[in-house]
Amino acid sequence: MSEQAGVTMEDVRRVAELANLELTAEEEPRMQRDLNAILGHIAQLNELDTAGVAPMAQVGEMLGGAIQGHGESLRADEVRPSVDRAAVMASAPETDGRFFKVPKVIER
């Protein structure tokens, strides 16, 4: 990752699009500079030989118990009361009381 490290302005725009972010003309060069600085620091990880080292996603995996995906940490599958719909909809930007309303989905 270090050799060709160098996030271009085009990379910044592509990643922003993937992340649903719209950057202003002033933000783009600043983000490019910062991403390059941070990725330059992250490149240190290449010094380490990690061949054969298992990747760790969760702490429980290292403790040989808890969250192993065998279902021990899952609760019983029972119907329980949920948060009241009206209370949820009270915080919605736009709603008809039953559904969230959004602008046009299909763009033509």
Binding site: T24, V53, P55, P103
Partner: protein, 478 residues
């Protein structure tokens, strides 16, 4: 009754004896907030209605002579990344504007069930991303011990509110140092519980494999009491552990004699402030005097903790923060004609620069062609970092180290250089990645009068021993 020295035990016994009411305690704290928080900016909102209803309930119990719960009448504050009914939730961001959560986070509900009075919500870096509290959309928090300096972050408001005696205890969250670092900067106790010890249900997620909820308090005993109240299995958080919760506060009086204290050599290298170094050496001398066996240990991968953290935390953040899209709660950009334009415009208007920076970095690290080089690599190094701790804890019972390389820095000092700001977390992120517990305890002051904290780290789920050593540090300081 002095607000300045009020502890949990003092509040509870004063109420049981009838020398003070919960209502009066709540009012005294609200008065102090009204008088002094204008310049510190620690509270974002006050939940007076809910607080006074709870205070009256406690007062009725006390009047009837009923046994009072452990935190009866104790005024507390909640970092504004935890859901709490009766107050807006902002996460320090504009994007949640107008959002009032319709439920309580488990830790918040447990505090109230234990008798605590919920005063309000505390300022923090936006989505808990920051080390100085300068990333809040609602303005920075100032350090009550030195007003031109930052209180640390991201739980800056939680640390400052305890340091300024606006609350007896508060809740914060720690993803890479966000409880321990502000505790050190403000001269209070802050606990990072083991990953899985405290439910995160109702915590606005930043990096789910790292996020933890923990307490701030004026002393180790109060911090232990709050931890005991909020810890435990919760069916609403599958990562919470069902290991029994120990009597942390009750165990603090046990002797520390014979405990093995490891001093990780990598935490005392170049860049450590000499006054902090000498304060920590003083702590180690005190522990020796108390009968601990102090010996050097090595955590060889320490220098890779920051780069590892900034890949994993930002990758998880880019995923977690995709839910803020203007559809279900908070801000929505009104001018957008289509759904996708609405997403982009809402997120552009709602997120601050640091949050955007981290979302972009995380999205980049997860994107096609870079996943193995960044994300998978970081996960592998995380394994190595965790093995470091497991190996050290085979030889010693706790680790003692600095919390931060420097004392509280000045506002604006590091805002232009993200890497410089990230390096602030150099002594805190490794414990976050490994999932072990940690606590920051005040252990001195610089010549300028800035607080210095020492970090005690414990084995996974061994908060009891970690807090016992923290208590010994506090006692030795006198």
């Amino acid at each position: 009754m002095e607000v300045e020295s009020l502890t949990i035990d003092a509040a509870r016994s004063a109420m049981a004896e009838g020398t003070v009411t919960a209502t009066a305690l709540a009012e005294m704290h609200y008065d102090r907030i009204a008088a002094e928080d204008g310049r510190i900016n620690s509270f974002l909102s006050l939940s007076r209605e809910r607080a006074m209803a709870q205070a009256e309930k406690i007062d009725r119990m006390a009047a009837k002579g009923e046994p009072l719960p452990v935190m009866a009448g104790v005024p507390v504050g909640i970092k504004d990344v935890l859901a709490m009914q009766g107050a807006p939730a902002t996460a320090g961001s504009l994007i949640l504007k107008g959002y009032w959560p319709p439920y309580d986070a488990t830790a918040v509900a447990k505090l109230e069930a234990a008798g605590a009075i919920l005063l309000g919500k505390l300022n923090c870096d936006e989505f808990a991303m920051g080390s100085s509290n300068e990333n809040s959309a609602y303005g920075p928090v100032l350090n009550p011990k030195a007003l031109g300096r930052v209180p640390g972050g991201s739980s800056g408001g939680s640390a400052a509110a305890v340091a300024a005696d606006f609350a007896v205890a508060t809740l914060g969250s720690d993803t890479g140092g966000s409880i321990r670092q502000p505790a050190a900067f403000c001269g209070v106790v802050g606990v990072l519980p083991t990953y899985g010890r405290v439910s995160r249900y109702g915590l606005i997620a930043f990096a789910s494999s790292l996020d933890r909820v923990g307490p701030f308090a004026k002393n180790v005993k109060d911090a232990a009491t709050v931890l005991q109240v909020i810890a435990g299995k919760d069916v609403m958080d599958a990562t919470s552990s069902d290991r029994p919760v120990e009597d942390y506060a009750g165990g603090l009086t046990k002797p520390v004699e014979g405990l093995r204290v490891g001093v990780p050599q990598e935490y005392f290298g170049e860049g450590l402030d000499p006054e902090i170094r000498s304060a920590i050496e003083g702590v180690l001398d005190g522990l020796k005097t108390a009968g601990c066996v102090v010996k050097p240990v090595s955590l060889p991968h320490t220098r890779y903790a920051i780069p590892t953290y900034y890949v994993i935390a930002t990758a998880e953040a880019s995923s977690n923060l995709s839910r803020f899209d203007g559809v279900r709660f908070g801000l929505r950009a009104e001018e957008a004609k289509t759904l996708s334009a609405m997403f982009r415009k809402t997120r552009d208007a709602g997120f601050g620069a640091e949050v955007k920076r981290r979302i972009l970095l995380g999205t980049y690290a997860l994107s096609a062609g870079y996943y193995d080089a960044y994300y998978r690599k970081a996960q592998q190094v995380r394994t190595l970092l965790t093995r470091d701790f497991l190996a050290a804890f085979a030889e010693v019972d706790v680790l003692v180290a600095p919390v931060t390389p420097t004392p509280a820095f000045k506002l604006g000092e590091k805002t232009d250089d993200p890497v410089k700001m990230y390096l602030e977390d150099i002594y805190s992120v490794a414990a976050s990645l490994a999932g072990v517990c940690g606590v920051s305890v005040p252990c001195g002051e610089t010549r300028e009068g800035l607080p210095i904290g020492v970090q005690v780290m414990g084995r996974h789920f061994d908060e009891a021993v970690m807090l016992r050593v923290a208590q010994a540090v506090e006692t030795a300081r006198g």
